[in-house]
């Protein structure tokens, strides 16, 4: 490990990352349990199910992967669907990149990229501090990754889900987390508020067009994010100013 070893000075930011990731972990557990259950009930072997959570670590892709597999889709179709579903992470990775400490080695960036999900991105990118450190994001990603994997095992082994009413209420957890991060960050910023309204409006519109429904399920988020952020950058070009 050598220079990669975390020393005591990194422990503080690491633990802060873990703490910041707790809402993500809480939201992931019920979804991961549901994934473990779905995989089991569709006859996916346990080694494959837990490998998916270890090596893919992307909720939507794993659910779609198992469903397509059960439907008898070709492997190239599943891989293409996975790729399209995750293209939005390209934008998120690009957006997070300038926020990472300039002296972060590339191998550290490669490790952090492994844990980039919608949820870890939302927590990291809306942090008030301008620069984010390697141990902070590592802690955030690790707690999220652990919860996702523990949940997958639990779903597969227990073989029963949470009671219906609990599952339904927990279904809102990650959305509530997004609201909890987004509203305080956007409410005092006119440009941010405009971008938020644009993105939500465009995505709702795309989803409401029935002919585009299947098309927009993988592209809608990418299209509405790019459009809203681009319009924001055109309307409010002040460089260097905080959003």
């Amino acid at each position: 490990m050598g220079k990669n070893t975390l020393t005591s000075e990194h422990l503080g930011p690491f633990l802060e990352g873990v703490k910041a990731g707790l809402p993500v972990a809480m939201g992931y557990i019920p979804i991961a349990i549901a994934f473990g259950l779905l995989a089991k009930s569709n006859g996916v072997p346990i080694a494959i199910s837990v490998s998916m959570s270890l090596f893919i670590f992307a909720g939507a892709s794993q659910f779609v992967g198992v469903s397509l597999l059960t439907a008898g889709a070709a492997y190239w179709e599943i891989i293409t669907a996975t790729f399209l579903l995750n293209l939005r992470h390209f934008l998120m990775s690009a957006s997070l990149s300038p926020r990472l400490a300039a002296n972060t080695p590339k191998r550290h960036l490669a490790i952090l990229a492994y844990g980039l999900t919608d949820e870890t991105f939302s927590v990291a990118s809306l942090r008030p501090e301008k620069t984010l450190s390697f141990p902070f994001i590592l802690g955030l990603n690790l707690i999220a990754f652990s919860a996702w994997n523990v949940g997958t095992w639990a779903g597969f082994i227990l073989g029963t889900g949470l009671p219906g009413s609990v599952r339904s209420s927990m279904g809102i957890a990650l959305y509530a987390m997004f609201l909890g991060l987004l509203i305080p960050a956007a409410k005092n910023s006119h440009p941010a508020l405009v971008v938020v309204l644009l993105a939500g409006g465009i995505h709702a519109l795309l989803q409401s067009l029935p002919r585009l429904a299947s098309f927009s399920s993988s592209w809608g988020i990418v299209i509405s994010t790019v459009l809203a952020a681009a319009i924001g950058a055109l309307l409010f070009p002040e460089e260097g100013k905080a959003v």
Partner: protein, 102 residues
């Protein structure tokens, strides 16, 4: 089993590449001011597109999702810790479904 393992690796690869490329390659590049501003707005745009309209189908019924969403939004507006916002959203849905759903 062996081909399934290859499928998982393939899915892992096409998931990792879009996550990794910008972060590793963009590092010290000087971005055009427009692109830099564009990237600053991505978190706001992406989160909003993730919430709307997905939140409406996240629970057993649209009305309970709205109840949970409103509860979470009010707590978020007053800058409560995100953990409490999440709990508020969950409880909002739970009690709506318990009391107000036939």
């Amino acid at each position: 089993m062996k081909s399934l393992a290859l499928l998982v690796l393939g899915m892992g690869l096409v998931t990792y590449i879009p996550r990794m490329l910008p972060m590793v390659l963009l590092g010290k590049v000087n971005l055009h001011p427009f692109l830099s501003r564009f990237l600053q707005f991505i978190p706001f745009a992406a989160l909003s597109a993730l919430i709307v309209p997905g939140i409406l189908s996240s629970t057993n019924s649209t009305t309970s999702a709205v109840a949970g969403g409103v509860a979470a939004s009010i707590l978020a507006f007053f800058r409560l810790n995100v953990m409490f916002v999440v709990l508020g959203g969950i409880l909002g849905v739970f009690f709506w479904e318990l009391w107000l759903t036939p």
